[in-house]
Assembly symmetry: C3
Homo-oligomer: 249 residues x 3
Amino acid sequence: MITLASDFGSPYPAAMRGVVCSRTGARIVDVAHDLPRQDVRAGAFWLREVLPYFPPAVHCAVVDPGVGTDRAALVVRAGDHVLVGPDNGLLLPVARELADGGECTVFEWHADDPASSTFHGRDVFAPAAAAVHDADRIEDLDRASPTDDFVDLHLPEPEMGEDGATGEVLVVDDFGNVVTNVPGTVLDGRDRVVVNDESYPVVPSYAHRDPGEALVTVASHGNVELAVNRGRGDEAFGLGVGERVELSW
Amino acid sequence: MITLASDFGSPYPAAMRGVVCSRTGARIVDVAHDLPRQDVRAGAFWLREVLPYFPPAVHCAVVDPGVGTDRAALVVRAGDHVLVGPDNGLLLPVARELADGGECTVFEWHADDPASSTFHGRDVFAPAAAAVHDADRIEDLDRASPTDDFVDLHLPEPEMGEDGATGEVLVVDDFGNVVTNVPGTVLDGRDRVVVNDESYPVVPSYAHRDPGEALVTVASHGNVELAVNRGRGDEAFGLGVGERVELSW
Amino acid sequence: MITLASDFGSPYPAAMRGVVCSRTGARIVDVAHDLPRQDVRAGAFWLREVLPYFPPAVHCAVVDPGVGTDRAALVVRAGDHVLVGPDNGLLLPVARELADGGECTVFEWHADDPASSTFHGRDVFAPAAAAVHDADRIEDLDRASPTDDFVDLHLPEPEMGEDGATGEVLVVDDFGNVVTNVPGTVLDGRDRVVVNDESYPVVPSYAHRDPGEALVTVASHGNVELAVNRGRGDEAFGLGVGERVELSW
């Protein structure tokens, strides 16, 4: 199985599907092609959020503002999974998650001179994913050489205190829910929490508040999420990606 | 075959695809993941519109404003098809259509304690769909118990008269076409019809009018549709979901 | 393999997938369903851009402002590929590309009286694609008759001069990149180029300029593209589809 994820919108991902289908009979499953545009950190978050639900697969993921520069292409073995994408940190948070405490092995991928300088999803990463999928071992491929020299990325950690936590917004999802980097366990046993100086109820899910009312919950990724039942949390809380979130209790 | 439909946008449905792939080798076909958000009635309309074109399959459909409350999970056998989703009426109109006059059998699905209170598409319904797909009979599954106690939903019926019909807007599609609940047969043999006090031509399709001109037609779902050739009917007719449509002739 | 492309948005393409699955076991790959709405020329461009990356397949493509009028349905054999869609020129540019200098054979498809006048993607083209896919030869199908009488379409050619080129905008992609019809080879060896009276740097890719800065590059389709690193070229250059682009050097 090869999964495809990108920030390419449409219809560019169709060319990636075509390239993969031309080179291997592998099953293709699309993850998403509307990852937040050119936002490597947000892409890294979403990949870490969804790829662990897949069975062992080759995951080709491209959020690549440096396309056409000298940034390298990577292949990362992480547990039973393999990740393929640009060397900008995108793949590392999910790789650690998939390796589940084990080692990740990182390879630089030496592509042919690509047909374009602007669409390596089609010209570099999709062919690499097909080659890796059909190989017995990454080590067997001349194009792959182990490397220690790559861009790492760690999603930001919150500061945890006794009376609160200071974190930030990682992403805002399609519903307008504000996803923070604060672990949801801080809400255990609490009825209310103060977010940036205002107090809000802590509830198990959206519908525990009336439509239009703001709430704090533990969302599906396990983090604290700021939301509005049937509305947009980003608007109600006045928060966007990267902004500071102070929780206190 | 397992089909997936939701109002989750992106990238959450990828986690559902991953869960299904991890549990069964079934073919996955996406229906849509941008069903009108948290609008159970609109979701019920679209499912009834598209699922009958599929061969026998397990259809996992989630528009679920009550996620994380005590609303039940349902599995519905309807003809050769099976529907899986929340107990809020979403599945019933299409179930009756798929049963085609036959009986529907409704089961409550007793899930494990789900990992989250906010994403039952991933934690309850996708696993249920995989289990139902791989079982010989729903009755064989301990988690499924027949029930008569579920939320039913009937799409609203128009009032039919001799000189006209009074209905309402069920959905507005991506083109801006206004889909009503009035059966298209009322237009048989008519050249014009009055919609909310203004007269419009009745035509077989959009291009029978000049670009920008409003028209009334029988759309692909068999209902009366209010449209503009290469434009938006919702703007021209000033109508949105749930609003009243009076047709007279 | 059957690929599906349209401007239908969502959820209408699900009905096409269902029809195909009901009639053939062929693998289905979606190309895109958000092709520029009712813009036959833009659709023709995108199909020509992405379908050549696929292995031999039946490609069902529908951008069809004339649905329900007397426009014909076509099946086109082009090299090892087959195209199915409306007779409005949509299929011809990609057919010539797929035929790669060889001959295209065009057939008119005589459908059953379709169920609707407004959704031939479901009622005419998807069934045709399934039938063509499962047939040994198009000639074996009673519904297909060879024809020379069809709407052809050529994407506009630029005027090439010694000191410049005059072209136009074919499409604006999801990133806001302005795709022209001028071949990228005109940029060979140049550092700067004048676009509609203003001078811009020519670079290999977006990140060779600072974020927010405008640039001219050769994009993945091989044409001159006007872009902004991490921004929208259409806004910076003030250009939309069909507008004139004068390049000089």
